[in-house]
Symmetry: C2
Subunit: 120 residues, 2 copies
C-alpha cells in the first residue's frame, strides 16, 4: 500500500521521489498542501479531539477569524480530511469530523512534533 523504504532513510523507491521541480502529484507535497496555511494544523489538532461545530472551533481558537476558519475548513474538506454535516433546522449548525484519512494525520503530526521537539 504505502511505498517501501530503500537504503537512504525515509525516501521511497518511487519515480515521484526524483522529480526535478515542485509537483502537485508528489505525495510529500500532497500532504504539505493539505496542511498548508496558517492555523491549519491547529484546526486538525482540535478535531483530533473529536467532532466540533464551527462555533466550538472559533471558541477553541479565538484569534482565528471566521473568514480564515471557513477557508481552512473548506480546504480540509476538499482535501478529504474532514466531513461536513449540516444540522437541519434553525439556527444553522455545522459539525466537522475527521474522516478516516484525516485521522491518519495523527502520526504525521506526531512525526512533525517529534522532530521539532528534539533538543539537538
Amino acid at each position: 500500500m504505502t511505498s517501501q523504504t530503500v537504503g537512504h532513510p525515509g525516501l521511497p523507491d518511487d519515480p515521484r521521489a526524483e522529480v526535478a521541480a515542485p509537483s502537485p502529484s508528489c505525495p510529500v507535497e500532497i500532504t504539505l498542501a493539505a496542511l498548508h496555511g496558517r492555523w491549519t494544523t491547529l484546526v486538525v489538532r482540535e478535531l483530533l479531539h473529536g467532532e466540533r461545530t464551527f462555533t466550538e472551533l472559533r471558541r477553541a481558537l479565538p484569534a482565528l477569524s471566521d473568514k480564515v476558519l471557513s477557508e481552512r475548513l473548506a480546504h480540509l474538506t476538499e482535501a478529504g480530511v474532514l466531513d461536513r454535516r449540516r444540522e437541519p433546522g434553525w439556527p444553522p449548525r455545522v459539525h466537522y469530523t475527521l474522516t478516516p484519512r484525516g485521522r491518519r494525520l495523527g502520526p504525521v503530526l506526531q512525526a512533525l512534533w517529534d522532530w521539532g521537539a528534539e533538543t539537538s
Copy 2:
C-alpha cells in the same frame, strides 16, 4: 527526550499541544518552518542522497534559480539541518551536508510521503 503519546493518536501530552494560536515554539511549527518554502523538501531530498555542492544542487534542480537556492540553503543551515563547508582556493566551491538532525528529517518526509501516497 521526545514527548510521549496519549490516548488521541499522534498528539503528545505537552502544554505546547494546546496553544490557541500559531506559535513559533510549537514543535510542529518548528518542523514546518524548517521545511517551509517552495523547493525546500526537494533540496533536503537531494542531500539525503549525500553531500552536494551548490552547482550539483543546481544541476539536480534546474528550474530552481540560484537566488532561491541560496535562500533555501541559508535557511536550512540556520535551522540546523545543513552544514556548510567552504573549500579553500579558487574557484570558490561550497559543500553542503545534512547534519545529524537534518538526517532525522528522513522519517518526517517518509511520514509525509506515506500519507500523501494513500489512495483512499
